[in-house]
Symmetry: C3
Subunit: 257 residues, 3 copies
Amino acid sequence: MTTYDWKQGYARIAERGPFVYGLTNYIAANLSANVLLAAGAGPAIGAASDWTTTFPAGANAVWINTAALMSSDEDSLRTVARTAHQAGTPWVLDPVAVGAGAAKYDDFVRSLLEFRPTAIRGNASELIALAGGAATGKGVETTVDSSAAITAVGEFAARIGTVVAVSGPVDYLSDGSRIVEVPGGDVRLTRVTGAGCALGALTAAAIFATGDALQGAVVAHSAYALAAERAGARTKGTGSFAVALVDELSLLNEVTE
Amino acid sequence: MTTYDWKQGYARIAERGPFVYGLTNYIAANLSANVLLAAGAGPAIGAASDWTTTFPAGANAVWINTAALMSSDEDSLRTVARTAHQAGTPWVLDPVAVGAGAAKYDDFVRSLLEFRPTAIRGNASELIALAGGAATGKGVETTVDSSAAITAVGEFAARIGTVVAVSGPVDYLSDGSRIVEVPGGDVRLTRVTGAGCALGALTAAAIFATGDALQGAVVAHSAYALAAERAGARTKGTGSFAVALVDELSLLNEVTE
Amino acid sequence: MTTYDWKQGYARIAERGPFVYGLTNYIAANLSANVLLAAGAGPAIGAASDWTTTFPAGANAVWINTAALMSSDEDSLRTVARTAHQAGTPWVLDPVAVGAGAAKYDDFVRSLLEFRPTAIRGNASELIALAGGAATGKGVETTVDSSAAITAVGEFAARIGTVVAVSGPVDYLSDGSRIVEVPGGDVRLTRVTGAGCALGALTAAAIFATGDALQGAVVAHSAYALAAERAGARTKGTGSFAVALVDELSLLNEVTE
């Protein structure tokens, strides 16, 4: 996939202006919504009343960050996953903090695989744990490098028939047969809360915009990597970096050279 | 209403330092609180324990963003609306995403009209839907221009005896007999999550500060429009714009010319 | 305690990279997580499934902001406090808005003292109310200066055998026998929502890093005061100030002179 490709895919998000619905945790919700808005998508978030049964069917794409359990019940997450699956709405699973030591939570996260997510994204610890490997997480952080997850990612993608993306110094994305590497980014992405979660939301929008799960994941991860590099080049602290990341995502479609 | 008027009304928020209590969604809560603090009000948010029965009576103003249902139950919202109404505390209703396809949610939002909000604010799709028109929303976004809602806004305000404000390229505000236009702002207001929700919170503070529902709504919308213009003039991306919006609101009372 | 001391203690947070788990309100959650990340800690927040029973035991430090009740039930807060207490994990209590008029909420906050918080932080109104004095709060804001709480802070710390820290123009911290003053900061800290809450989270991280409750509280409050001063010196509005505060916390460990 050339650089040209993903930029076109990213531009299609703003052209199509998809309605993207998500359940996520309240730490990451604001940044996730702003990342989607920056890309030109229209987000709605939360299990308010019958949103869970209507929005996943009406939306163009859906994402579920399982830490949404901190303010919504298991039924709500299951309903959103089931409704998206049955309606044919592409949906992204972000199994945040799976494998960090909360066994009941981990079991619930795994149970959502029944509704066949279109893509799954997380850090190395999370994806290794979700794929059935050892628990290596420390809260929501990974203790292993993304490269350690390459094999697990490919096998896991093949086994459950979905696209799997692992974030790290280099991101690795696989549909079970191919593995795509997305280098770049900035280490400060790991020091901005919800930056990974927001990438899951952006992946959902890009899958709709491109009409393809792997291509959408590549678009979202590539846009994120470039925006993070640009943000990193013009800021020092982590607060400014987070603001600049959203800026750069909102300006990516402008001709800059 | 002259420019002079609304600036005086805005300055009165900081002079009086009202305690403004709200229920809102967790995506918008942070920005709403920071907008209130920027204007000089003291916010508290959330249905924590008996806050719902005590704070609406003790507060100077209240706002309810109905997407608060994503982390609070219907009883909490109803209790806050009822308590504010019975205590004579002015309260603003923000019917976010009404008319976007979630019928049960829409019914609940309409049921809050029983507690006679002092003002209602939303985008064109939301206010048309709330007034009984066709559903045209796409999640939390409008698909129609604010000008399309002028008639509905005026009639709706007259019918239920409240002030209604519709946000858009031009904001239209009505008390049922007059319609006030507030031009200005910046298109990036639609690309910052919770910007509209925070305007509802600011409207509540301004209604208390001015002692008048329509005047308060004009103050809040005018301050927002000018702050957004200033923020837009000195930023490019949507992340910086959001930060600058809060900056400008916090600096509006300083003599600048 | 010299300037040298607290900077060393602050640097130890990044060196040790503690996993800090918290329950807090959704207005402050994002800033709290970003402040912890800026300091080099790894935060996880929220009562998602069995996180409440596992994370307080596995974490290096815990904080509870009682406004977490706006999205979690009393049992969750109690479970986190009890689990931290029994596991010997240091934990910080932030009794936000206690004494503001919600008696049932106040009673619940006081009931958490049973689990012997390692430190308590709040503003003057909150700490006076928690110590059994008159209710003087206005929502989440204080109506009295921190100096008015000096005596109450010292006596309260001695009585319940914990470290107590009151935020204000000058912060006062006591372990019941000594009182430490931390001057500095910036008045805009009171105009950024969740700034105080995030200080509670940082205090938890610093207590773990230093291995001492009073020293940890001094480290966190001193770092905050210096970061706020630096942020205040290079920004005007409250939006930029909040971003710069996180920046400065993330840059404090860099050699700057």
